[in-house]
């Protein structure tokens, strides 16, 4: 992980451009820049935090040469199970540990499929994408339970300080350890060349199981953040979110082929994405745009997400060091 490598600099610049373009649509005014920008950043970061948590897990999975398509389904399943618990102070000692164990268990199941049963990650997690989503329906049976706003202190995690504290703890403790760890280098090596990693006496299967379990645990944290903010969960929650997470991570310079990637890049990728999504939504209620555009502005969402992904990957490929480029 190079500190402030040029690709990251370009991503940061892209983010500045994006904010400058889209923030005015969301109610940021030059005359009252501080309060309006504060409100904008507040909402934006709250939206971004759970996606960021998922993106951190996804980064590690992609570095290991795999992919986890089931993150959104895992998050939804954990959220659905959490929503079945009675609200009240005991929620913290019953629901939360169960949710954590469930998240880890779902991730572990993915890991076992990939490492022990040798199913290709894209197929294994595509299978669990449907499996876990189906379990959501089985858990809720079409009903909705919304205990979250009634759990004392829970909605704090849906406000900025709580959410930032959570993601900050993950980043500083987890990310700090990750950066300097032997574990990270082993994952990089597995992603770069699995066979070589095995010859270098790295416990490949075990590392892979750990990687997918980590993704499950982060999905649990994301589920907590989402439900603390929205106050509800349904069997259709977060559908399609896995694609957004993958776009953000790839945008951040992580190679889908494995062996390369940084957490800081993913953070920037998530922010780029969050700004875009929020801007498109705000554009839908902008009169000037409504009058000039022949179609609904929000419909551009996937067009722009796709363009952003291709642009990001192109910039990354262009700016990657020659040594890294040749390894692609």
């Amino acid at each position: 992980m190079r500190r402030f490598a040029p690709p990251l600099l370009v991503l940061a610049l892209l983010l500045v451009v994006e904010v400058a373009l889209l923030a005015p649509l969301s109610g940021v005014r030059s005359s009252r820049i501080l309060p309006t920008f504060g409100a904008y950043a507040n909402d934006l970061l709250i939206e971004a935090v759970p996606i960021l948590l998922l993106a951190l897990g996804m980064t590690v999975v992609l570095i290991s040469g795999g992919i986890d398509l089931s993150v959104a389904s895992m998050t939804a399943l954990v959220a659905c199970v959490l929503s079945k618990f009675e609200p009240g102070p005991q929620f913290w000692v019953t629901a939360i540990p169960v949710g954590l164990a469930l998240g880890a268990g779902l991730g572990l199941a993915n890991g076992l499929l990939v490492a022990a049963c040798d199913v290709p990650p894209i197929i294994a997690t595509l299978g669990t994408l449907f499996l876990y989503r189906g379990l959501c329906e089985a858990v809720l049976k079409g009903a909705k339970y919304n205990p979250f706003f009634d759990v004392p202190g829970y909605s704090r995690l849906g406000e900025l300080p709580g959410a930032l504290a959570l993601v900050g703890a993950v980043l500083i403790l987890g990310g700090g350890w990750f950066r300097a760890s032997r574990w990270r280098r082993e994952i990089l090596m597995i992603g770069g060349n699995r066979l070589a990693a095995r010859y270098a006496a790295i416990a490949v299967g075990r590392r892979l199981i750990e990687v997918y379990t980590l993704s499950g645990v982060l999905a649990f944290l994301a589920a907590v953040c989402f439900t603390a903010h929205d106050g509800s969960a349904s069997q259709a929650s977060y559908m399609g979110l896995e694609l957004q997470v993958i776009v953000a991570v790839v945008l951040g310079g992580t190679a889908v082929t494995g062996g390369r990637g940084t957490l800081s890049g993913s953070i920037l990728g998530v922010l780029l994405m969050a700004v875009l999504v929020e801007g498109l939504q705000a554009g839908g209620s902008n009169f000037w745009i409504q009058e000039k555009m022949p179609f609904k502005f929000g419909n551009l969402r996937f067009v722009l997400l796709g363009s952003l992904l291709v642009l990001g990957v192109w910039i990354n490929a262009r700016l990657a060091r020659p040594s890294e480029r040749s390894s692609q």
């Binding site: 370009v10 610049l13 902008n286 020659p322």
Partner: protein, 376 residues
């Protein structure tokens, strides 16, 4: 990319899009960020020029709207979802009312009936500083925090189509008297079933307040008046005609003795009717519900469906905008009075902050369907 640059190296040609080589790391690289910087500055300058265009213009956004000229008032309306005929019809009515009153209207919402997507719209509108937000909540409990945030910013909150009773909203615009509609549906299906046999509920969601209030009134009516009716199942269709058809087909297989169904939302009725038609159970299983005329016209004429209920959704959009503007202007709506050109208001006998648009729902049958050519 790697292959192309390798070719380039071999034949000493430089492709305009390919990476510069060989190493060229510091000098070749610095160009792009610097150019992007320049573009960024340019765009920031541009953004500075256009930023008075968003929603409320440059006027102080959170001022109480009482003294505002009409063309400065912004009403935002949030349907449960945007892309179904029923809510497009509501939009049509709302647009017309906004045009007549000279206020500005934002009508936008999620493409799926999702609570968290609705919350995002409310957050955005609070920041943009609109004057009133009219919400048709998918998840009544989930909007509470956002309603409170909006009220702190001086925004008037109405609910329409579906209520969020404990959220602290200012006013609810209800299309019908919930009790009467629920009971009318039950009475109608009981009549068609000759008051005995198994029946089932087909409904878009188990949390939307309006649908489930009707469902509860219908079930209460069944318990009270029709002891020989047995409710055997509830099918949740998520506002989707196709999903509704598939689920009802399964339902008909699982319960071969089923005699009747009530479909509580505009997509469940045509879905259930299509299922009856395809499984050949038309006429054997009774169906009634709430839906829009166009998708059900053929089913009525073919006899798959005997009758269904609705109100004019355009009128609902229209009334909601008129009442929202009245609240922004500081008026308080009273029973029997007209607000900004609305018909005289009726309030719910059970809640003093709920306006009822049409106390008696329209009943569509084979005989009268041709008179309602609404285009949806």
């Amino acid at each position: 990319m790697g292959m192309i640059s390798a070719l380039g190296r071999k034949y000493r040609v430089s492709l305009p899009l390919g990476p510069k080589h060989p190493p060229a790391y510091p000098p070749g690289r610095s160009g792009l960020p610097v150019r992007l910087c320049a573009v960024a500055l340019l765009l920031i300058a541009l953004a500075g020029c256009t930023q008075d265009s968003p929603a409320t213009g440059s006027g102080s956004p959170h001022a109480a709207g009482a003294g505002k000229p009409r063309d400065q008032i912004v009403v935002a309306m949030l349907p449960k979802l945007t892309n179904i005929a029923y809510f497009r019809a509501c939009q049509e009515g709302a647009k017309k009312a906004a045009g007549e009153l000279g206020v500005r209207l934002i009508y936008d919402g999620p493409t799926d009936p999702s609570a968290s997507d609705q919350n995002k719209f409310i957050e955005t509108w609070i920041r943009q500083g609109v004057d009133a937000i009219c919400i048709a909540p998918n998840e009544p409990k989930a909007i509470k925090r956002f309603v409170q945030q909006a009220k702190e910013s001086g925004i008037r909150i109405l609910t329409w189509d579906s209520d969020a009773p404990d959220s602290g909203r200012d006013l609810m615009v209800n299309q019908v008297d919930d009790k009467r509609l629920g009971e009318a549906l039950m009475d109608e299906i009981a009549r068609q079933m000759h008051e005995e046999g198994e029946w089932a509920v087909v409904i878009a969601s188990l949390s939307a307040d309006n649908l489930n209030t009707w469902r509860r009134y219908a079930e209460a009516r069944a318990a009270e008046k029709y002891p020989k009716l047995v409710k055997v199942d509830t099918v949740v269709t998520e506002e989707d005609v196709d999903k509704s058809r598939k689920l009802v087909e399964t339902l008909l297989n699982v319960h071969p003795n089923l005699k009747g169904m009530i479909a509580f939302d505009s997509n469940s009725v045509p879905g259930a009717a299509e299922a009856l038609k395809r499984t050949g159970k038309a006429g054997k299983v009774a169906l009634c519900g709430n839906s829009t005329p166009k998708p059900n016209k053929e089913y009525l004429k073919e006899g798959v469906l005997e009758s269904f209920y609705l109100w004019d959704p355009r009128q609902l959009g229209d009334l909601t905008v008129r009442l929202a503007v009245a609240l922004v202007e500081g008026k308080s709506p009273k029973a029997g009075e007209s607000m900004n050109g609305s018909p005289p208001l009726t309030f719910s006998p059970r809640d003093a902050t709920t306006v009822i648009m049409s106390p008696e729902p329209l009943k569509f049958t084979k005989e009268n369907i041709d008179r309602y050519d609404w285009g949806f």
